[in-house]
Amino acid sequence: MATVALPEAARAQRREWLVFLRRLAARRTALFGLVVVVLVVLTALTASLISPFDPIEQDLGDLRLKAPGFRDAAGHVHPLGTDHLGRDLLARVIYGARPALLVGFAAVAISGLIGMAAGLVAGYFGGRTDDVLMRLADIQLAFPFILLAIAVIGVLGPSLKTIIVVIGVSSWVVYARIVRGAVLTLREREFVQAALALGGGDVRVLLRHILPNALTPWLVVATLDMARVIVIESALSFLGLGVQPPTPTWGGMLADGRVYISTAWWLATFPGLAILVTVLGINLFGDGLRDTLDPRLNV
């Protein structure tokens, strides 16, 4: 193998990454979580390839509410059974990963960016700015989140975009608090003081010197928050305020399952398991990430 000499700094950086990855991989639970998350993401991306049936096509004939393992007239097996409209449950569980992950990633991106900005500004400038931002955070936290979300979605009408924006805009506080805390200590460090003494402007110091060092706690919060967002997305779908039918959502399927609970247990069981596995995977990975990067981080 031909080796190209890396500049010293780049090589050190790469070594740091390798050390980090090796430490993360040494935590078996974190690795397990990562594998689960990757599998769920792959399922969502390749849903149209791996799904055995169409998730939306109905069959109101003799395919309604069949138990798991049912073999239909054409000889196809429905491993997880069918729902009250004769739709294959496995196909719907597979496709349900899409809205869950989409809302998860998009909402976390929005709240993460808002929270990062608010935390940087509050921690760096302090004083009045800090007071105002932290009071805003208190106001945000005082709301029963689900209630606020359903009130807003009730007014605006449910859609994918509304859900993402509502969750994204109202989840910034955790990020802001953790970034602010990091900035407060970073601001006093020598390298930041040196950058300022050398005439670096506020924006430059914030973006070049402070931000990269505040990214670690931010990343941990983002990972763990993704689990929370996915649960909220399914809760909203469960209440009929999520992505609208016929698009399959795990929460929506659970709501159907609740209606048929005394006759068809599989309807409510499998979509719930899908949520549980996904959220558990993310939580395990997030915990591992936190313990590897910064065990003292209180999130």
Partner: protein
Amino acid sequence: MSTFLVRRLLQSLVVLFGVSFVVFAILHLTGDPALVLLPPDASAEDVRRFREVMGFNDPFLVQYGRFLTGALHGDFGQSVRHGEAAFGLVVERMPATFELAGAALLLALCLSIPAGIVSAVRRNSLLDYVATVVALFGQSLPTFWLGIMLILLFSVQFHLLPSSGRGTLSHLILPAVTLGLFTTARITRLTRSGMLEVLNQDYIRTARAKGVSDSPVVWKHALKNAAIPIVTIVGIELGTLLGGSVITETIFAWPGVGRLSVQAIANRDYPVVQAAVFLLASTFVLVNLLVDVVYTYLDPRIRLR
């Protein structure tokens, strides 16, 4: 001490002020509250007259001032659906919600604090592993799914417990377990890590070296210091419980504020929604104010901040 309390009280007032503004602004999100409040088939003439009567043509801030004055007098307007005062409707349902949230919190505290302590003291024992795994699952289970599964098991399969309504203690069990599990998991993990941290401190080692036996070390020295983050999280978890009650009450047909507000949103009954959100948020602010007062007794250093 008193300056801390006064400052904290003022902060709470500012937060409540902000809450009232957001609650008010929700109706104006689409630009025209008349269209939100009226049924979709209302005629243009009706909409115009409604706007006139409700004062929706006034400047935004004038309307907010009117809303705030009303809210301070407990007047959120009439419920569109029930024809009664929205405030009264919500207040009537408050005891049911407090009962459920209180039971869930009590359950969580009774399970999680002993579990967390045992986990920390007997670190890496079988009990520790069991508690850790249960807590991990508890944090990952969606409330509404847990509720449905509990109904499937205890109501549909074994006919042991009622699946809906309020009244006897047996009605309370399933909803309280459903609502409390997430909080139980959170507090267990927090107690465990808090205790572990304290048990590694020098003064614990000193106490041990002096020959103080195990249980006084745990109870007198360690738990008192680990209690501070636990008290804080109880305040925050109450918000989770009040919010979570929306889902839990819907699943178990529990006649509380959460279910009332979900129904109100479905019926476009916004005065009720506003009153409910405002009152739940106020409860949360109030409880956290109390938590901070307790806090200053547990850790006098806080006052000096």
